[in-house]
Symmetry: C2
Subunit: 309 residues, 2 copies
């Protein structure tokens, strides 16, 4: 029995996300043919060396010709340019989707270019690591993770179902959401943590009284958790900040307000307020583990990995 869901899939962009999708398509035999395109010649060459697809073309317009599914996996700031480039070459009835971390901006950038004979269905798989590039991807990245689709009004139900089937074949669980609500949810669960992580690592790096080598030596006491996020792709995250500005600024304002409250409690020695917050936050951790969204091992199981060495 064949697992083929699409005769031809075009992957525009082949970084962490694109190359993980490519690996899963290959592993599960979901496409008759996979065509890969990247703006970077080096990246495209590397994708070929890794045998991630069947054909490799530098032009995104060429890549999408005859494709039944087009997955755009580029930094969100490049969405408009990609949409403009591929628009004229899209096959009638093709499904065009993306994996961008912001949805309202991607829709505003891509939708005006989309011909009315294709199905444009924005999406966002909630999965990733701090690594980037085609070597960083791996099969199974999306397994057990959520993929949020933000279909526009009047989306063809059959096309939507076909896209859902694709993500489910990669092991994802599917949610549908309004684009603006998606952007607000992601601002708190993803964009704010990322910005905070970048910021604290920057603050530590700038200190005169504590040396960089001290920060590194003693990072096991908490700091290192933040550096994982702060090692993520700078281009991707610059674009996210610029393209989900309103929701991010709202979350930053709330975060700063709460931090001022905490700071004041520390200054005035209000132990009860500190204890109340520090207790409440434990419950959230338990719920995340119960929901299968993190591993239930202390320290992320770091010491277990250490022992194996």
């Amino acid at each position: 029995m064949s697992n083929v869901l699409f005769d031809r899939i075009a992957l525009i962009g082949i970084g962490l996300i694109g190359s993980s999708i490519a690996r899963d398509i290959k592993k599960h035999g979901l496409a008759g043919e996979v065509v890969i395109s990247s703006r970077s010649a080096d990246t495209l060459k590397r994708a070929q060396e890794l045998e991630l697809g069947d054909r490799y073309v530098s032009s995104a317009a060429d890549a999408v010709k005859g494709a039944d599914l087009v997955v755009v996996s580029v930094p969100v700031g490049a969405s408009a340019a990609v949409a403009a480039e591929i628009a004229g070459s899209l096959k009638q009835g093709a499904i065009v989707t993306d994996v961008g971390s912001t949805k309202a901006s991607v829709i505003a950038q891509m939708q005006p270019h989309m011909p009315d004979y294709v199905h444009f269905i924005p999406g966002h798989p909630i999965a990733g690591t701090e690594r980037s590039g085609p070597d960083a991807g791996f099969s199974g990245l999306f397994s057990g993770r959520w993929c949020i689709l933000t279909p526009l009004e009047g989306t063809d139900p059959a096309a939507l179902q076909a896209l859902k089937d694709f993500w489910m074949a990669l092991g994802s669980k599917i949610d549908e959401m309004d684009p603006l609500h998606h952007d607000k949810v992601l601002a708190i669960v993803s964009h704010l943590p990322q910005i905070i992580a970048y910021n604290i690592v920057g603050t530590a790096d700038d200190l005169e009284t504590v040396t960089e080598s001290e920060v590194i030596k003693y990072s096991a006491s908490g700091f290192r958790d933040f550096t994982r996020l702060a090692a993520s792709d700078p281009t991707m995250w610059r674009d996210v900040c610029l393209h989900n500005k309103d929701a991010i600024l709202e979350m930053l304002a709330r975060f700063s307000e709460d931090l001022a409250y905490l700071q004041r409690a520390i200054r005035w020695g209000e132990g009860d307020k500190l204890f109340e917050l520090f207790t409440r936050t434990r419950a959230i951790r338990r719920l995340i583990i119960e929901a299968g969204q993190d591993v239930d091992t202390p320290d992320f199981g770091r010491h277990l990995r250490d022992e194996k060495k």
Copy 2:
């Protein structure tokens, strides 16, 4: 050949740190006898069930009688009370140390009580997990991690060396530091990350526009990294905040200043400033991995653990 470093060791407090020390002492045969004391009857009973020591006594004063090494592993706010309780029962020439996350405050609390015939040498092993209690400890917690000692002026070199030998037998690397400098270093590498983690989890929990269940479902996109720290022992961290106030407030002020700069860059669409910071922070991550202070696996190796299930 015997590995015994001390004829009798008294462990005051048997939580994550105390019980990990106990397990290592037993594993490596570092003591003739281990006496364990805890203020909580339940904890003491549990320590006995786990066979962490040789004798179990509810009174810290009784526990330290005849002990050559006394390790105090209690929330830093309890240091003065413990010091007052044990002072009159300490053996001549005993080494008294602690594992507290703040050093100036612990010294101020304990030193006035210490008789001049004991060696009081404050210490702080830079190791731990988000779990707490005697069941949370494990042998090897300190292996490859730094232990900072902050000896006071005039400390006996032989006693200092004996304490170093003890921590090295647990696999630790030793540093010596001035107590105030220790408190500043830890404020940035440990206390600030911890407070920020608590704060962001609190902010997320308080949102009206995004539900708790959404925060949990999509936490894999960054948020969950912070929840690990925010699951730590509330009593311990309340005490740290109250007992390293000045250094923490200084770091919080710098952090907030940097965050305001970042926030302004987002508001005004200054992509270059964002890109510069997001690039600089990557380097720190690399250095931490090179220094052996974190595992070199994407996503802390979470997906590898997932696959094993």
